[in-house]
């Protein structure tokens, strides 16, 4: 089964959840990132997501592996959409199952923060008066080595 995917088609949430069901999990959390209309008062019309697909899949898998090491008996599945997305469309679905609920929340949160650091995916916002590639890290820390490290995470 492919636990980590980049998808050109709309994401089927239930299919992602099904991947992490396990008999010894009491909790599954999902994070569903959707396209928001307003950001800092500016109205988004639509977004274009682009990925360095082969590397993005590897980096999603790396995040899953990090989680399965940090939170024993967890199971992770992540799919990120690419292409044109309208308001309320789903950009990403992260599903994490764990034996106990606290871990399911924490591990899921870790996944989205890590995606925003190391997975080569970009979005271009389109407004009424223009468009721009968005880069979260521009306003954050620069990586002197070119390699982001886990220590930079806001855990």
């Amino acid at each position: 089964m492919n636990y980590y995917e980049i998808s050109k088609e709309p994401i089927d949430i239930q299919a992602i959840i099904d991947k992490v069901v396990q008999r010894d999990a009491g909790a599954i959390t999902t994070f569903i990132g959707t396209v928001r209309e307003l950001t800092k008062g500016k109205k988004t019309l639509f977004l274009i997501y682009e990925a360095y697909e082969s590397m993005a899949v590897k980096k999603l898998a790396q995040i899953g592996q990090e989680i399965e090491e940090k939170w024993p008996n967890s199971k992770v599945a992540i799919t990120h959409r690419v292409g044109k997305l309208d308001i309320t469309d789903i950009a990403v679905v992260i599903a994490v199952s764990t034996p106990h609920r606290a871990d399911a929340y924490e591990a899921n949160r870790y996944a989205i923060e890590r995606i925003k650091e190391i997975v080569p995916i970009w979005k271009k916002e389109h407004w009424e008066d223009g468009e721009e590639w968005i880069g979260d890290q521009l306003e954050k820390v620069a990586y002197p080595t070119g390699k982001p490290e886990g220590a930079d995470l806001h855990e």
């Binding site: 990132g33 997501y49 682009e50 990925a51 360095y52 082969s54 590397m55 993005a56 590897k58 990120h80 950009a91 990403v92 989205i112 995606i115 925003k116 650091e117 190391i118 997975v119 080569p120 995916i121 970009w122 979005k123 271009k124 590639w133 968005i134 880069g135 979260d136 890290q137 521009l138 620069a142 990586y143 080595t145 070119g146 390699k147 982001p148």
Partner: protein
């Protein structure tokens, strides 16, 4: 020969998704400097570099056949 991939605003600036060029023996830093000049890329400094789909430091040396990608600040999620 090497394949160089550009994404997001770098792709727009270069006008190509990828180019083929021989960069073997150069370091990542040298490749960046060369391309920044060649294509007048303002923001190459803020991009990370990936060699064969793995993040690479500025002093990593390029081998024949390596695929090099510049990763502008990401914005997935």
């Amino acid at each position: 020969m090497n394949k160089i991939l550009f994404f997001a605003h770098l792709k727009d600036a270069v006008g190509e998704e990828s180019i083929r060029i021989d960069l073997a023996g150069k370091t990542v830093a040298e490749v960046k400097e060369f391309l920044a000049k060649e294509y007048q890329l303002q923001k190459l400094d803020t991009a990370m570099t990936a060699v064969n789909e793995e993040f690479a430091g500025d002093d990593e040396v390029i081998h024949p056949g390596d695929e090099i990608a510049f990763i502008p600040p990401v914005s997935g999620g």
